[in-house]
């Protein structure tokens, strides 16, 4: 019983942590650019594939952990400049459809370059065993990934709370005109927000690669789960996304443990229930929509 409890708690923290990184990334992009990026899941898959390529080319997993987000971030910058910039003045429906098309382009490119087979990210020697926690034992690599998630979240909190760029970002998501009036280049802040969001998708991908294996449509389920997270948490609310992500991670882990096949249905039901009670999400203020 103790072993199962430890398992469920740690697994739900790992899953919830991945959701936190995905959901906060989506919300940073949305808060600054008013763009809901439907290619977010495809960028997540791309992060995992970049990680796989770095490791199978002889690199270390930790090198992949650094390199993959940077590569995805560069791609995010290109996407912002080429596709998102011309859409700024258009209705939101068009950006939704555009990024949805982008998702299929990236999915197709992944299949084209890496094939459809499932890939495995080879982990270093010390991460392959299990560690015993009292009467329970837990795989080391999951603990390492949990620490990685914690590091990413801490770095993000530092960035948003302590640096000038992060403070500008938070301010620009509230009142861009005011930030602009203070002499800050708001366009630059918005672009960095987009790139940061894309990098977070890549980070989540490289972290999730060893957990769920790497396959071309791995981003689809994650995209849907991220939507559940941002909609339940409230669009644009970072705190709401964190709460919702941990909650969904816990519920999904429990549901997968007890009923396996249709765990996601339980998650959707929970989402519908929350939205009936709070249509704008847990911390949604209804400012944007």
């Amino acid at each position: 019983m103790f072993a199962i409890t430890v398992d469920i708690i740690l697994n739900s923290l790992v899953l919830g942590g991945i959701f936190v990184i995905m959901g906060v990334g989506l919300n940073i992009i949305y808060g600054l650019n008013r763009v809901m990026n439907l290619a977010h899941g495809a960028l997540y898959a791309l992060g995992a594939y970049f990680g796989y390529t770095v490791v199978s080319a002889g690199g270390n997993y930790f090198l992949a952990f650094i390199a993959a987000p940077i590569l995805v971030g560069v791609l995010g910058l290109i996407i912002e400049r080429v596709l998102i910039t011309p859409m700024r003045k258009r209705s939101m429906i068009y950006t939704l459809i555009l990024t949805y098309g982008l998702m299929f382009v990236i999915d197709g490119l992944i299949k084209f370059f890496w094939g459809v087979e499932t890939r495995f990210i080879h982990l270093p020697e010390f991460m392959q065993g299990s560690v015993s926690l009292g009467s329970a034992s837990y795989p080391v690599f999951r603990l390492v990934i949990l620490i990685g998630i914690a590091a990413v979240v801490a770095a993000l909190m530092l960035l948003l709370g302590r640096t000038r760029l992060g403070i500008n970002m938070r301010a620009a998501s509230e009142i861009p005109e005011m930030v602009s009036a203070c002499g800050v280049n708001v366009r630059g802040v918005q672009i960095s927000g987009f790139v940061l969001g894309c990098m977070m998708a890549g980070t989540a991908g490289v972290l999730a690669g060893p957990l769920f294996t790497v396959f071309p449509i791995m981003g689809h389920d994650m995209l849907i789960s991220s939507f559940v997270v941002v909609v339940i948490g409230g669009l644009g609310s970072l705190r709401g996304a964190v709460i919702a992500a941990l909650m969904i991670g816990f519920v999904q882990t429990l549901a997968e443990f007890f009923i396996t096949e249709m765990a996601m249905v339980i998650v959707y039901m929970l989402m519908a229930l929350i939205l009936v009670i709070k249509p704008l999400g847990i911390l949604g203020e209804g400012k944007f929509e």
Partner: protein
Amino acid sequence: MSNMEQAAPRSLMMQRLGGGKAMWITTAAAVVILAVLPFVLPNRFYIRLVNEIMIYGLLAMSLDVLLGYTGLLSFMHNAYLGLGAYATGLFMIHIWPESIWISMLVGTVFTMAVALPVGWVQVRTGGLAFALLTLSFGMMFYTVAWKWYDLTGGDDGLMGLPQPMISLFGIDLASSGNSTAIYLFTLGVLLMCFLFTWRVIHSPLGAVLEAIRENEERASFVGINVRRYKLIGWMLACGLAGVAGSIYILYRGYTGPGVMGAFEGAGVLMMVLLGGMGTLWGPFIGAALFIVLKDQLSSWTQDWEIFIGAIVILLVLFLPKGVAGLPALFQKSPGGEG
């Protein structure tokens, strides 16, 4: 204020009167051409292709009611086609295989019964969350169809469907297994659905939906219950998708969960975009272009996903009004898109 006085009535007038006569002549001509097609085209393959275009055209038209007229985006409208198909199929297999009309009615009513609570939750959350939720709920239906093996046959899909007689006023006309018969049947149902939707969209109800699309806040200020009318638009769209689903399974004699997948949903969205949203007839042209394009691309390359996605991106960037927007492009009219 002057903006609203000029823009809204003009576009309505053009649709009601300006396009009126030419519109009816074109519709009649299209129906006549489609009706004689199976008797002049010897190749069964093309008949089936046109049949599929008609079914997906109906689905795309139903999405246009939502996207082009109400201004709401559904990423997985095909999920409701799937619901209609599964409900019709299961009813025919397990309950009553005899009547084509009752089966279609059951499929459509079931689809709307599922769509009602989903739509009720979705319209409460606002425009963007609405779009995201359509994806989540669509994936949920897909998961159920895929994993509930005992009911739906899982990945194998529903098989062994009976082929009821197509009857009219108690007279049996032909078996639905006959490809010409099911083709003409599809055409008839399609025409009825099109006329019905055309009538609804050009009634005061349609004007309310368009008002919501143009400016939700303003619509609510003049006393329109925005949520209720969004829900009506949603139910209309899902009901039509259910009809499309019923014909789909009668025509194919089979359905699998693949028809409800996310990629198929993107295809339906692309049909509306290709043809031009907010026109009702545009999606049919879009469906024809898309299905022919997909047919050609998939015989030419395995990676046609990339091309479909790229075409969507190019359409949004350069031709947001689709084929229906082409004439205006050449006339250099001043009106841009919203």
